[in-house]
């Protein structure tokens, strides 16, 4: 892909992402918001493909379009799907805090290395070199993300799997039927 095409796509997709984000923040109908969040996930998945993170894009597409939307819709089924107007006195302080945080970060941005440069600390760190250069001899699996995920950083991933498992248990405790009700059902 030519550099110009890349930049154009990048600018376009990220602009769409911001617009969708604004729409999510503005709309009151929560069904529409849930659908928009699916679109938001799909757009960010496209951006991830553009930035060479195919595995991440795959996950984001599967999770964002499949799981998250279904979970939100199930929640609306159990609660309600319309947002009431929030009290106005909260909006101005919230906007001030958000703008202040964003302003600080924008000032700090000028110190960031330019996007896509090959000589940033992220790319020249010895550990990156170690991972990228030696996976072929040590493991020999073409997909480096899988190698890193399961082998080099296997302990990390074990922790993540335990977190997912714990979250599942937590939801089961919150929404699963408690033992007394089950006993009543059976008797």
């Amino acid at each position: 892909m030519s550099a110009l095409a890349f930049d154009a796509l990048n600018v376009f997709l990220l602009a769409c992402l911001v617009v969708t984000g604004l729409a999510i923040a503005r709309l009151r109908g929560l069904f529409a918001v849930a659908m928009l969040s699916g679109i938001y996930s799909l757009l960010s998945a496209s951006v991830f493909v553009l930035l060479d993170a195919v595995d991440v894009a795959f996950t984001e597409a599967a999770v964002g379009a499949g799981m998250t939307t279904v979970l939100f819709l199930a929640t609306f089924g159990l609660t309600r799907s319309r947002e009431h107007a929030a009290p106005h006195q909260k909006r101005v302080p919230a906007l001030l805090v958000a703008v202040a945080c964003g302003g600080v970060l924008l000032v700090a941005l000028s110190d960031m290395p330019p996007f896509g440069a090959a000589d940033t600390p992220v790319q020249t760190d010895p550990i990156t070199e170690r991972y990228v250069e030696t996976t072929h001899e040590e493991v020999g699996i073409p997909n480096m993300v899988t190698t890193l995920l399961a082998s080099y950083r296997g302990f990390d991933t074990l922790g993540e799997v335990v977190v997912v498992f714990t979250a599942g248990i937590a939801v089961l405790m919150l929404l699963g039927r408690c033992s007394r009700e089950r006993a009543e059902d059976e008797s």
């Binding site: 600018v11 990220l14 602009a15 992402l17 911001v18 984000g21 604004l22 999510i24 923040a25 929560l30 969040s37 938001y40 960010s44 930035l51 060479d52 993170a53 195919v54 595995d55 991440v56 998250t68 979970l71 929640t75 159990l78 609660t79 309600r80 947002e83 009431h84 929030a86 009290p87 909260k90 919230a94 906007l95 805090v97 958000a98 964003g102 924008l106 941005l109 960031m112 330019p114 996007f115 896509g116 090959a118 940033t120 992220v122 790319q123 990228v132 996976t135 073409p142 480096m144 993300v145 890193l148 995920l149 950083r153 991933t157 993540e160 977190v163 997912v164 979250a167 599942g168 929404l175």
Partner: protein, 120 residues
């Protein structure tokens, strides 16, 4: 040049939108959506940091290929799945709050709480 930092600008913008949604909206589901938008902005930042201009996806492609950094991909990949699991815990809490207060608006629940403590 603007394009050199364009991705990071968008990251900061999305973060601001997310933060504003969490703080300004009283609706608990909307708060969770704002939180996940904030989360996505962090994902985008990590992935942008790993990109090399002219690089390819980190799947071995023969001699001389330049790969984008796979390490941020690994970190974000797991974070996305953990993110949906934790969002589900948040939504489960919202469902329980709705069962207890019959509302998913923060200020209405707080008002009910105050009324009850006033009576007692």
């Amino acid at each position: 040049m603007i394009l050199a930092h364009y991705n990071y600008w968008v990251v900061v913008l999305l973060m601001m939108i997310g933060l504003y949604t969490v703080m300004a909206h009283g609706n608990l589901v909307k708060k969770l959506l704002g939180l996940s938008m904030f989360q996505t902005s962090v994902f985008l930042m990590f992935i942008s940091l790993g990109k090399i201009e002219g690089g390819t996806a980190p799947i071995l492609a023969g001699e001389g290929a330049v790969y984008s950094n796979p390490l941020p991909h690994v970190l974000i990949l797991t974070a996305i799945v953990v993110g949906v699991a934790t969002t589900a815990v948040g939504l489960a809490l919202v469902v329980r709050i709705h069962e207890a207060y019959h509302t998913i608006e923060e200020h209405e629940a707080v008002k009910q709480e105050q009324r009850e403590s006033g009576q007692a």
